[in-house]
């Protein structure tokens, strides 16, 4: 059974951490303020916690089973995580399209997959390594290569 502490940990670990990472990356990349996104994060955190309370209330009333509760909470975290991952990918790709003619391929090769072609999770180190690459191709483009 997922305790509130555990749930909070998972929300941070799987969602807030990634979302903030995405914000920081985009802030850096576009040199623009992302305060509205941070506010969305804060609101989502709030909704998550009230969802938790609400759903546990149902559990107490025996309307929901323990297993259901765990599943629903995990689904919630998973959906936030997947949405965030997709939006980081989408936003970065939109920027890169300006100078990368084959952005889809580039993202697929270097972000979604490791150099052996296995799918890779988007983590801080993966993202940093990828941005370094992206910057390189950007310079190459600026130099007209």
């Amino acid at each position: 059974m997922m305790t509130k502490e555990k749930f909070l940990f998972e929300v941070i670990d799987n969602y807030l951490y990634l979302a903030s990472l995405g914000c920081m990356v985009m802030e850096n990349y576009l040199l623009e303020d992302r305060t509205p996104d941070y506010i969305i994060c804060a609101n989502n955190l709030h909704s998550c916690l009230s969802f938790y309370d609400q759903i546990y209330n149902q559990l107490d009333k025996k309307e929901y089973s323990e297993q259901e509760v765990d599943t629903l909470l995990t689904c919630l975290i998973q959906s936030l995580k997947q949405e965030t991952l997709k939006s980081i990918n989408r936003e970065l790709k939109e920027c890169a399209r300006n100078y990368l003619p084959d952005a889809d391929q580039f993202f697929n090769d270097y972000l979604m997959h490791d150099r052996k072609g296995n799918i890779q999770e988007l983590t801080a180190s993966v993202l940093i390594a990828f941005l370094r690459r992206l910057r390189e191709s950007e310079t190459a483009y600026a130099e007209g290569k």
């Binding site: 629903l72 689904c75 975290i77 998973q78 979604m112 799918i119 180190s125």
Partner: protein, 494 residues
Amino acid sequence: MQKNETMLTPVYRYVFSVLDESAVTEDRIRQMRVFKSHLRKSACILTETKEIESILDCTIELLERFHESEEIGQDFWNNKLKALQCDSCQSCYHCKKCRIYYWKELGEVLLQKTNDEKKSKTYFPVRSLPDEIQRHLEPSASISTLYLSRIKRDSIGVFRNKFLMLKGMSSSTPAMLNNIFDTNDYVGGGFYLNWNGYGVAIDPGYSFVHNLHHYGLSVLDVQAVIITHEHIDHNNDMRLLDDLHFSAARFDEEKEKTHIIDWYMDEISYAMASVLRTERSGFKEETCRLHRVMAGDSAELKTNELDVTFFPTKHIPKDGTYNYKEHTFGCSFCCKNKVQKKIITYTSDTKYFNGLLEAVKEADMVIANISGIYEDDYMQIKEKSTHLGYGGCYNLIRKCSEKYGRYPRFYFLSEFWNGKSDIRYDIVKCLKRELEEQGITDIRIIPSETGMLYDIEDGSIQCSQCGQYTDEVIVKRPTGLNEKIEVLCRECYF
């Protein structure tokens, strides 16, 4: 949550746990319907429920049909499988067609369909990792990553165009001495050469990797390894070096290309590595190229910058004859840049014979493995049959001077046996005096010690105290037992 889970993983876990409890009954089906309605109620907060709901609908329908009759269930499952043969769900960041996997998994549980794609099952583990195990598996805890992050401090600059002595004593004596004196101070090792960023490990014997790390280098600073013969003070650490390198090369994902080491080895060491490769226990193709070296071969290590030639040595007698096995060798490096070319010769283990002079005649610096010294050897009554010894080290320079009118400016003696006492300082002093008597005065003879650095470009050596490079060094007599040999510049000495 584990990595690479999809939107459907939690649902799968739930469905599986429900189906696991008993056969498909009305109750179970009702339970699923209730779950679906609960899911819908949560839809206000769950951003993506369409996907989950539709797969749940299919699941419920399958259960209903299956409850009717197994055959009908089968048919429904088969038809649906075809319908689900589309790309991705659009809900996952990574979707390797999670719906179809889900469906196949479900088929396996319900209809005992064997899933031939078991290997790709990473999305739907039924068990989830307990936290206390998970945290040990987190990539942040990986020692390979930590090892690599130390490497990234990039100390290689200090070693650029330098030759680093990493060898203490010969054979297994360090292990014995460490035991006798209850310490870890005694080491074996090898040598490390770096020319323009290209690193060569030479004879990685017992404790080589330890020494390499101790002086701030790592296996990723090594581009080639040379092993002159199979004795443990020359190849003991080959497996450790390879294994460590395999991990480091593999984990270094930020680097574009896989880091590869070229191994140039004598026949026996080559055979050892090949067996391990064939048995898949080391020296994997991904990270190593194995080269079998015969005396007389040469190799271009770095195009137009670094060559090596391998010359024959006489080290291991063939049983019952006065001949020697032919697979052992020494090596000469030719380090080139636009303005100059420097030659460094490493004799490795060999008895003295005139053929060696060829390799020494043009060298700027020579490292000679002296090994143990005996009375007959020192008195030049009987020369040593497997190593240079005192007589061999003396003849190598004297005869070179006689025959070619020149000799190397730097002469390092290495692989002291030290089985009885620390003879290094005294033997070098005597050798120097005796060569001087022959008119050979412009030579710096230095007992090699771990950590000593020789500047290949300038032909100078680092002062052990101030760290400056100088052409004129004074060897300091070590005072204690196994005290390190120090070489000092004039300022530090006086």
